[in-house]
Symmetry: C2
Subunit: 363 residues, 2 copies
C-alpha cells in the first residue's frame, strides 16, 4: 500500500532526495567511500557546504551582507544563541505558540525580554495583531509558522510587522515554513530554523544572519555559541553534520529544478486550499485555527462535537488507508496533516478522499 | 581498486553498518518510510534511542547512577556545556593537545581554570605526568586520546591519574578512543565525545554523566545547555539527530557481536603493533609521538630528514594504492593513519605493505 507521510517533523522529503542520499551512503559521488565516513576536510566535501549556502542564497534571494550557516543542536539551541549574540538590553517577542514561548523564556536570562502579545488564552488559534513593537528593543522575535497550532504569518501580516518595526531588528524562527514561499529576507536580521521540515533530515539547523549585527553585545560569548565562529569557519569550525547538510543540498537542488520558491508556493497554495476546502465543506470535521491565520504547512482539524467518539476510529481508518502521522498534537487534539514542500497534490487528494470516505460511512 | 579509509574523523565505519544505514534510508525497518523522514516521536524510534543508551551502558559496563545522552553540536559544544554545568569555582585541565587547550579556553569564562601541565612546548608529542591535581577543583579534565598528535593515555597512565584524583571529579573527552578498549567508567564524572570516530557518522555527540553531579552550580544554565534537560527528555527534549543515532546503534550492535570491548581491544592492539613495528623497523619513516604514549587509534609518522623531499611522492604513491586520508595534520606534518575500531588488520597490513614497497623503491 502506498503511504503518505504527514508527519510534522522530521517529515517527508522528496523521493529522489531519499534515493540520492541512499546512493551516497553506499558511494559518495563516485569517490568509493560512504558519505558516512568521508572527512569534512576532504576536498570533495567543501563544495557541498559551499553549494548549501549558495543555493539558500539563490532560492531565498538573500541580499549581500548576509551569511547562511549550518549548525547542530536544533532551533532550540538558537533560542539561547540568539540572545547571547544580540540581546544587550531588551528584546520583544510575539507569543504565538509553545515554541515562541520557549524562545522567550531563554531570552529572559540575558536581559529584559517582553511579550508584546499572546494568543495563549485562545490556545494559540490565531496570530495577535494588536501590539506595538518597543523601539528600544534590540530585536523583535516572531515564529512565522506555528507547527502545533497550524497558524502562519500571512504575507499581509508579515507586511504589517515590517511596517511597524521602525528601527528594530526583526528575527524569525522559520523552522516549519522556510522555503515554502518567497520571503523578503532584507527585512530580517536573523532567520533560523531546524532543517527537518522543508530542507533536510534531523540534525542540522540553518541560520541566516546579517553580519553587521554581530559583535555588538558586551558579554562574553562561548566560542561555539558565537555566530561569528561559524561564519569565519564557513560552518566548519568543528565537524558539521555531514549527511544532513548533503541531503539539504539535494533538497535545494530539487526545489530549484521545480522552479524555486514561486513555483513551490503555488503548489503549496493549491494543496492547502484543497485540504481546507474539504474541511470547511465537511459535516464531520472542523479546522481549529482562525481562517485568516491558517498555515499552508500544518493543517490541524478535529471532529465536531457530535462525532467526537469517532476519533480513534478515524485514526485507524486513515492509517489503514496509508495516511502516516495524522494524529494531532496533544495540545490541540484531533488530527494534523503536515503538508510540507515535498508532499504533492496527489498526497493531499488521497487524504481528502480518505476523509470523505470515512464521512460517507459515518455521517 | 579497494580503498582503505584512514581518515581521522569523520572516519571509517563497519561495511555492514554502512549497508544497513543505506537500507534504512530507503525503508526503515520495514515501515515503508525512510529513516530520513520518520518522526522521532514515532513509536518505532523510541526503541532506537533506548537501545543506543542500553548498548553504551552494556558495552562500557557503565554503573548505576549514570545516564548516556545523545546531543548535537559536537564535542566543541561540550567544551562550554561542561563548565556551565560543573564549574562553580575552579577547574583543572591537562593540556595534551589543541582540543584540550580549546576545552580549557572555554572553561576560563566560567571560573578559575588552571592548566596543571602541558606538553605544548614539545608539540604535544607526549603526555605529561609531573603534576598534582588541585584538591579544590570542581573537576579535572583530560583528553584520553589526542587525534592530531597520536598520543593516548595508556591504562597505566590512567591508573596514575585515578590514584592522584583524591576527591576531585574526573572528566574526559574520549572523542577518539571511546569504545576502543574497556574503561573503568566509575572513575569518571563525565565522559563525552563527538561520535564520528568509533561510533557514528558526524552529527551526534555522546555524554555519559553521573547524575548526582548536576544541579550544584549557582549560575543560570540555558535550557539546552543543561544536561538535566536532556536526561529528563531521554535525549529527545528537542528533535535528536535521528540518522546518526540509528547508525550509532548499528555500530554498537556490530561491536557487541564482535565480542565487545575486550575483543576490539585485542584487535586494536594487534593493528597498532603491526603499524608501529613497521615504522620502527623502517629506514625511511619515523613516528612522532613518544613511544610510551603512542595512540592505538591515530598513528602519525614522518619521513626521516634525509628523505623529507619524498613526502608528496609518498602521498601520491599511497593514494594510488588505495590509501585514503593518510596526509598528516598540518600541526605535525607528514602522515597519519587513523586505525579506528572499524579498520581491520588487513587494512593496516595493506598500509604497511605500501610503506615497504615505497621504501624498497626509494631507500
Amino acid at each position: 500500500m502506498k503511504q503518505y507521510n504527514f508527519n510534522a517533523g522530521p517529515s517527508i522529503l522528496p523521493q529522489e532526495v531519499i534515493k540520492q542520499t541512499a546512493d551516497a551512503v553506499i558511494d559518495f559521488e563516485g569517490h568509493g567511500l560512504s558519505i558516512l565516513e568521508i572527512s569534512h576536510r576532504a576536498k570533495y566535501f567543501q563544495p557541498v557546504m559551499d553549494e548549501a549556502e549558495a543555493l539558500m542564497k539563490e532560492l531565498l534571494n538573500i541580499p549581500d551582507g548576509y551569511r547562511v550557516i549550518f549548525l547542530g543542536g536544533g532551533a532550540s539551541l538558537q533560542f539561547c544563541m540568539l540572545p547571547y549574540n544580540l540581546l544587550e538590553h531588551k528584546a520583544a517577542y510575539l507569543n504565538t505558540g509553545v515554541w515562541a514561548k520557549k524562545a522567550l523564556k531563554e531570552a529572559k536570562a540575558f536581559g529584559e525580554a517582553v511579550e508584546v502579545a499572546s494568543s495563549a488564552d485562545a490556545n494559540y488559534t490565531f496570530i495577535p495583531t494588536d501590539y506595538e513593537i518597543p523601539q528600544d528593543a534590540d530585536y523583535f522575535h516572531v515564529t512565522t509558522n506555528n507547527t502545533i497550532y497550524g497558524t502562519e504569518l500571512s504575507d499581509e501580516k508579515l507586511q504589517q510587522i515590517y511596517d511597524k518595526l521602525g528601527k528594530v531588528t526583526l528575527v524569525a524562527d522559520m523552522s516549519s515554513d522556510i522555503l515554502s514561499r518567497p520571503i523578503d529576507v532584507s527585512k530580517y536580521g536573523i532567520i533560523y530554523g531546524g532543517a527537518q521540515k522543508n530542507l533536510a533530515p534531523a540534525g542540522v539547523t540553518f541560520v541566516i544572519v546579517r553580519e553587521d549585527l554581530l559583535g555588538k553585545v558586551s558579554r562574553h560569548i562561548p566560542t561555539m555559541l558565537d555566530y561569528r565562529t561559524h561564519i569565519e569557519g564557513g560552518s566548519m569550525f568543528n565537524t558539521p553534520p555531514v549527511l544532513p547538510v548533503y541531503t539539504a543540498v539535494l533538497t535545494l537542488r530539487w526545489l530549484k529544478n521545480l522552479g524555486g520558491l514561486e513555483a513551490i508556493e503555488k503548489r503549496n497554495i493549491a494543496k492547502a486550499e484543497l485540504l481546507y476546502k474539504a474541511i470547511d465543506e465537511s459535516k464531520m470535521f472542523v479546522g481549529t485555527a482562525k481562517k485568516e491565520d491558517r498555515s499552508r504547512m500544518n493543517v490541524p482539524f478535529v471532529l465536531k462535537e457530535e462525532y467526537k467518539e469517532l476519533e480513534a476510529e478515524f485514526l485507524k481508518f486513515a492509517a489503514d488507508h496509508g495516511m502516516v502521522g495524522v494524529k494531532g498534537h496533544r495540545s490541540v487534539g484531533g488530527f494534523r496533516a503536515s503538508i510540507y514542500n515535498a508532499m504533492d497534490l496527489e498526497g493531499v487528494q488521497a487524504l481528502v478522499d480518505c476523509m470523505k470516505e470515512f464521512e460517507a460511512l459515518h455521517a
